[in-house]
């Protein structure tokens, strides 16, 4: 079908467009990081970074998310080689790991809140909850995306369109991983060290 010409062109366009979207998202995170760094000492009598962070806990989250990034990458690779079933299993693993990461984050947040350290306590905590929470929100979107992708893969025969959709998801998931590395370094490691 002559349709395929436009299909390759579209692949290019969508990938470029998605990269550009990621760039805009980087600008959003850059604004949030800048805000966090300005406000990190504005504790207004509440706890400071070193009072509330646990590097071990964040390290566990990091390991889980990195692993999920790995399973996601292999999943995309397998799909490109035409192995749909294996790809779906690894995507499922990605979803499970992502959900685990999110569960840990919810646990961390609820612990803080139950100790009385809420986002209303100080500007520092507002910035913390917002920066980390925005990443968590992206993870949630990624999970919904991955689940719809799984349903689509289950119901549809493999094709260039499916590979394209998978590549975009993988790009998004790796991007979230990179953002998390920055959060881990700037928020948690530097916070514990301060």
């Amino acid at each position: 079908m002559s349709h395929s010409v436009t299909e390759t062109e579209k692949l290019d366009n969508t990938t470029l467009g998605f990269w550009l979207y990621l760039m805009t998202d980087i600008m959003i995170f850059a604004s949030l990081f800048a805000t966090y760094l300005v406000l990190v000492n504005a504790t207004a009598g509440g706890p400071s970074a070193s009072d509330i962070y646990s590097a071990d806990f964040a390290l566990l989250q990091t390991v889980i998310l990195l692993t999920s990034s790995f399973t996601c990458g292999v999943s995309a690779l397998l799909l490109r080689r035409g192995k749909k079933t294996a790809s779906m299993w690894l995507l499922l693993a990605t979803v499970v790991l992502g959900a685990a990461f999110l569960a840990l984050e919810v646990f961390e947040f609820s612990t803080l809140v139950s100790e009385g350290h809420t986002w209303q306590t100080s500007a520092f905590l507002s910035a913390f909850f917002t920066l980390v929470g925005t990443h968590g929100l992206h993870i949630s979107v990624g999970l919904i995306w991955a689940i719809t992708l799984l349903v689509y893969m289950y119901r549809t025969r493999i094709g260039s369109d499916m590979v394209r959709k998978m590549m975009l998801f993988a790009l998004f998931w790796h991007f979230l991983d990179i953002i998390w590395i920055f959060i881990f370094t700037i928020v948690y490691l530097m916070g514990v060290a301060s």
Binding site: A30, A34, V38, A42
Partner: protein, 308 residues
């Protein structure tokens, strides 16, 4: 209409507008261009200088625009020189890259120099020591504190002629801004921090001051008067306030009443018995801040955005 008629109508309209504005300006009191202080005086000079410098580019632009539009209109019976492919000329382009670069270069030098010489934080040189005045912007009134004289005033400030005054400014309200056009330079008043402004009046008189930043419903009524008096008169005025038995001292109750949002146009005088009042007002917004240098806070915000 023929081109000549159009030109005549155009010139007529321009003349009418010019006449209208001449009539308007003739009777107007233009504070910025009639300065009564050293800072405003230099700013007026700078104002005229930048206009003159810009005119070097702008006047030729207007002349060329009129000339080309008139000469190369397609209805011109004497039209000649049509050359649709004439589209590059590096010498000409060098001219209009070059001239603006030189002009902006000059202006950049002037900018650097005046940013320092007219920096509101910079103390004005004078044989007299500078008088500190603390300014608190409230909703919607101005409170002036004279820690050295022990005087506080509402909605008016008294300044000695030819003596520099160092204003320290804060707010106990949404961000406001302090401006006396006849004396020069405005600066923001912000909660929990201090900004500085140095001014010196050179002529006796009463000048108007405003808040230039919107801070709520009573914003338009938030004006004050700057009374410039002789140096001796200033001290005897302050003396009179502190020794008067009929003038109350400003205390917490009075301050809290002033802080309540309201329009208050009258000028009121108080004694200032607590020289720390200003610091209490600033400090009330940052009980636990790690650093309490207001200037630092400003610079943090500046640095934060420096990456873009």
């Amino acid at each position: 209409m023929r081109a000549n008629h159009k030109l005549a109508v155009g010139i007529g309209i321009v003349a009418l507008l010019a006449g209208l504005f001449w009539w308007l300006i003739a009777g107007a009191q233009i504070d910025v261009l009639a300065p009564k202080g050293v800072i405003a005086q230099q700013q007026k000079t700078l104002f005229i200088f930048t206009i003159a410098l810009s005119a070097i580019v702008v006047v030729p632009v207007f002349i060329l625009l009129a000339m080309f539009a008139y000469k190369y209109r397609d209805t011109n019976p004497k039209h000649k020189g049509y050359d649709p492919e004439w589209k590059e000329n590096s010498k000409l382009e060098a001219v209009w890259w070059g001239i603006p670069i030189v002009i902006i270069g000059i202006l950049a030098g002037v900018t650097w120099y005046t940013s320092h010489s007219l920096d509101p934080y910079r103390e004005i040189e004078s044989k007299h020591a500078s008088i500190p005045v603390q300014v608190v912007a409230l909703q919607w009134k101005w409170l002036f504190l004279y820690p050295e004289q022990g005087v506080a005033t509402l909605n008016y400030v008294v300044m000695p002629k030819d003596v520099p005054v160092t204003f320290s400014l804060t707010a106990d309200a949404p961000m406001s801004a302090f401006w006396i056009p006849a004396l020069g330079s405005q600066i923001y008043n912000m909660n929990g921090m201090t900004s500085k402004l140095n001014l010196m009046a050179t002529e006796l008189g009463e000048y108007r001051g405003y808040s230039t930043n919107i801070n709520g419903r009573g914003y338009a009524d938030m004006s004050f008067t700057a009374n410039v008096v002789g140096r001796d008169d200033f001290y005897s005025w302050a003396e009179g306030v502190t020794t008067s038995s009929s003038i109350a001292g400003i205390n917490e109750n009075i301050f809290n009443a002033l802080k309540t949002p309201s329009v208050e146009k009258s000028a009121i005088t108080y004694k200032l018995t607590d020289p720390e009042l200003y610091n209490h007002i600033v400090g009330s917004y940052m009980p636990h801040m790690m650093h309490d240098e207001p200037e630092d806070a400003t610079m943090d915000a500046m640095h934060m955005e420096g990456h873009h």
